[in-house]
Amino acid sequence: MPAILYFMFYASLGLGTSLTFLSSHWLTAWMGLELTTLAILPLMAQHHHPRASEATTKYLLVQASATGMLLFATILNGWVEMSWSINEMKNPYALTLAMSALALKLGLAPFHLWLPEVMQGLDLLTGLILSTWQKLAPFALLMQISQAMPPTLLTILGLSSATLAAWGGLNQTQLRKIMAYSSTAHLGWSVIILQFSPGLALMALGIYIMMTMAAFLTMKDMSSTKISTFSTSWSKSPEKMVAMILILLSLGGLPPMTGFTIKWLVLEELTKQDMYTPATLIVMAALISLYFYARLSYFTIISLFPGTTSIKTYWRQKNIKDKLILPIATTATLFLLPLMPLTLALTYFYN
């Protein structure tokens, strides 16, 4: 595609999300969401691949219905409460509908089924944008309406996301689908703590974005989309694969990587709120997802099959120019655990 189009689409993407962030009126929020949806469609379909086109169509249908439902919920609230304000949305039916709509947009269970297929049809960079940037706008809205929401529904959303994503992810060999399920699971962790501490939810989302960025960018550098590619990519860049192992385990929530922060703080907050059963259930589900991350790490292990010493890494390395973002993301994924209080304080602007 000509470069000017890339500029247009990325700019619209950024504009849409910023518009949603800035708005206090539901109409402008809806406008921002629609803008992001429309802007990313050509980016998804840019490769003119049948699968890409199919993914684009599915994405459009799902997101359009979600945004439509959101509009319906806000209009209902406006009719009943005489208010367009996002912060003071009080009507319970409107809240429930809005929550379901936002859950569909985000890809939370039980509305997560579209995400793996859509992600599978995209190339890795667009997949990264889908799983990171596109989550920000709906999440901002979710944060704002979360105060008045019925807590049961949020807990059910969070628990079912974590468990269904864990079980679904066990069955996959395609990396993009695995990342889709991982997105659902992490968002489940975010949502379950949203009712008690929105700041913590935002931190969870933030750390998830860091980790996913590191994972996707490494996978893009290796051009690997399947597990079997992992097992042979050590020869292309052994350093990246070592980092990949640790990134995957960080996604799984294993200390001493940053991913552990989410699990730790969310569990602490849940137990402080006397929610012992949900805490146990969600952490068991995280254990199952840890299994498939660990399986991926296992396949990445640099283990040579018996042979002569002429088997070495490639002579010519890939071009690593202009790729500062990957080291930043990797460092953030692996080494930020000691800075946990700082990361928490940065996002802890609510109660």
């Binding site: 799902v62 039980p110 679904g168």
Partner: protein, 612 residues
């Protein structure tokens, strides 16, 4: 310190130390001369015998007994374990008799085992066994008794399996250990009960405190121990199998000393049982059953050693009956007299076996009275003593027992069984004598028949003297604690003699039939109750291990592997997760209609739930 007890105690300690001395010198690794067995071991035993006569004489003259506590071995805060020896009339009389019999047997063994390359080790084992037996007999606390008990058990195992190249010998040794172990359960049960309830293992304290307790449980434990060690019915098959060992082993362990350890235990601890009817009845009935059963089995055996072994078992049953009659001293008397003639019977058998070039089947012997006159005469004397011929050694103990049985208000069934067993004793003893010494020879012509070695003649001669006069000497010299009933009907008084004569006559008639043929085609059943040993080994020896092993297999495979590992543990969890993963991936059909329907339904459901 008083002179007499000091002499008594020091003589007995000297006896024990003389017996220990060859064992301690055997720890030195330099090889011993081939005559070490004769010069060191046999001399030690004979010296010990003569020294142990001193305390015996002192006891007979003045009735001194003594208890020595030597060493506080170990203690918890309230429970002491000591080394203490009790030299009462039981151990003072038994020790010289055991040493006398051992001396004779060791002298015989120096001829019997002279071609064995490990003869010195054999003698060492026999001596170690003897030390363990003396420790058992002189023990004043249960712990020391247990040490002796286990010691004789282990040495029995090693000695039965002496010819370990023979698989039958190994099986027999293992059988002895296993059956003894089952009996040990009873002994340990009693010891544990005594330790927890009476806080002591000292026999005096146990006697004193026993009046306050219901002693049924420890007594049943002791009876189980005696059943195991003394081969009562139920735990009896090891004793005939133990004849796989060399003849000196059979003579020492399995006739005179080790097998009476169980009875000796009951005699020692008899004051506990005096008033417990359950224990007494158990002893009575168990003993009666044992004596008749083993006598029945002895009737059709063809191996000379097995006949003598079953005869030992039968006499042990008789001793058990005596204990059940509340007459421990008569049982002890029978132990002492039985030692003499049974050891002699075994030595005669050993002499015959060696002379006929290791032939043990009585159907292949015969006419030895002319060829080995001394041995066959002593065989006859021993058999007569065994059946209770008046005024030989066996008569004083056996007849006293039968009289006590007849005049007591007890189980008539036990009485009947014991009398039948007495008649069977006469039958199988006559069978042995008939087949071995009478008639025409049935052995190979070039058998090395030679009994002229003094190492053979002298021990048998000594034991023959013992079989004749021991009964008289012992009964004249010790004071019975319970007065025997002296008046009884004429037939009851002669009952034992009468049934023995009937047995003898019927045996003679039956033996005379062996050279006549009444039917043209005689049909003899091959397997009957008697020669299959009551079918006890055939059923129990395969059944019990099979039950235990299948139980073990069930526990290992089904309980552990299948239940814990496969269904609930690691594999169970893994299979469950795989199933759930399939369920979670099923809705992923690729149809947007499905996804949006789910969205619609869930939102509707949420709204509806809110309405409620």
């Amino acid at each position: 310190m008083y002179m007499t007890p000091m002499m008594l105690s020091s003589s007995l300690v000297l006896t024990l130390n003389i017996l220990l001395y060859p064992l301690l010198t055997a720890l030195d690794p330099t090889p011993k001369k081939p005559q070490w067995a004769s010069t060191h071991v046999k001399t030690a035993v004979s010296t010990a015998f003569f020294i142990s006569l001193i305390p015996l004489m002192m006891f007979l003259d003045q009735g001194t007994e003594s208890i020595m506590i030597n060493w506080h071995w170990m203690n918890t805060s309230t429970f002491d374990i000591n080394i203490s020896f009790k030299f009462d009339h039981y151990s003072l009389i038994f020790t010289p008799i055991a040493l006398f019999v051992s001396w004779s047997i060791l002298e015989f063994a120096s001829w019997y085992m002279h071609s064995d390359p490990y003869m010195n080790r054999f003698f060492k084992y026999l001596l170690l066994f003897l030390v363990a037996m003396i420790v058992l007999v002189t023990a004043n606390n249960m712990f020391q008794l247990f040490i002796g008990w286990e010691g004789v058990g282990i040495m029995s195992f090693l000695l039965i399996g002496w010819w370990y190249g023979r698989s039958d010998a190994n099986t027999a040794a293992l059988q002895a250990v296993l059956y003894n172990r089952v009996g040990d359960i009873g002994l340990i049960l009693s010891m544990a009960w005594m330790a927890t309830n009476m806080n002591s293992w000292e026999i005096q304290q146990i006697f004193f405190l026993s009046k306050d307790f219901n002693m049924t449980l420890p007594l049943l434990g002791l009876i189980l121990a005696a059943t195991g060690k003394s081969a009562q019915f139920g735990l009896h098959p090891w004793l005939p199998s133990a004849m796989e060992g060399p003849t000196p082993v059979s003579a020492l362990l399995h006739s005179s000393t080790m097998v009476v350890a169980g009875i000796f235990l009951l005699i020692r601890l008899h004051p506990l049982m005096e008033n417990n009817q359950l224990a007494l009845t158990t002893c009575l009935c168990l003993g009666a059953l044992t004596t008749l059963f083993t006598a029945t089995c002895a009737l059709t055996q063809n191996d000379i050693k097995k006949i003598v072994a079953f005869s030992t078992s039968s006499q042990l049953g008789l001793m058990m009956v005596t204990i059940g009659l509340n007459q421990p001293q008569l049982a002890f008397l029978h132990i002492c007299t039985h030692a003499f003639f049974k050891a002699m019977l075994f030595l005669c058998s050993g002499s015959i076996i060696h002379s006929l070039n290791d032939e043990q089947d009585i159907r292949k012997m015969g006419g030895l009275h002319k060829l080995m006159p001394f041995t066959s005469s002593c065989l006859t004397i021993g058999s007569l003593a065994l059946t209770g011929t008046p005024f030989l050694a066996g008569f004083f103990s056996k007849d006293a027992i039968i009289e006590a049985l007849n005049t007591s208000h007890l189980n008539a069934w036990a009485l009947a069984l014991t009398l039948i067993a007495t008649s069977f004793t006469a039958v199988y003893s006559f069978r042995v004598v008939f087949f071995v010494t009478m008639g025409t020879p049935r052995f190979l012509p070039l058998s090395p028949i030679n009994e002229n070695n003094p190492a053979v003649i002298n021990p048998i001669k000594r034991l023959a003297w013992g079989s004749i006069i021991a009964g008289l000497i012992i009964t004249s010299n010790f004071l019975p604690l319970k007065s025997p009933v002296m008046t009884m009907p004429f037939m009851l008084k002669l009952a034992a003699l009468f049934v023995s004569i009937i047995g003898l006559l019927s045996a003679m008639e039956l033996a005379a039939m062996t050279s006549k043929q009444f039917k043209t085609t005689p049909t003899l059943p091959l397997h009957n109750f008697s020669n299959m040993l009551g079918f006890f080994p055939s059923t129990i020896h395969r059944l019990m291990p099979k039950l235990n092993l299948t139980l073990g297999q069930l526990m290992a495979t089904q309980l552990l592997d299948q239940s814990w590992l496969e269904k609930s543990g690691p594999k169970g969890i893994a299979s469950m997760q795989i199933k759930m993963s399939t369920h979670a991936s099923d809705p992923q059909q690729g149809m947007i209609k499905t996804y949006l329907t789910i969205f619609l339904l869930t939102s509707t459901l949420a709204i509806l739930l809110m309405l409620l």
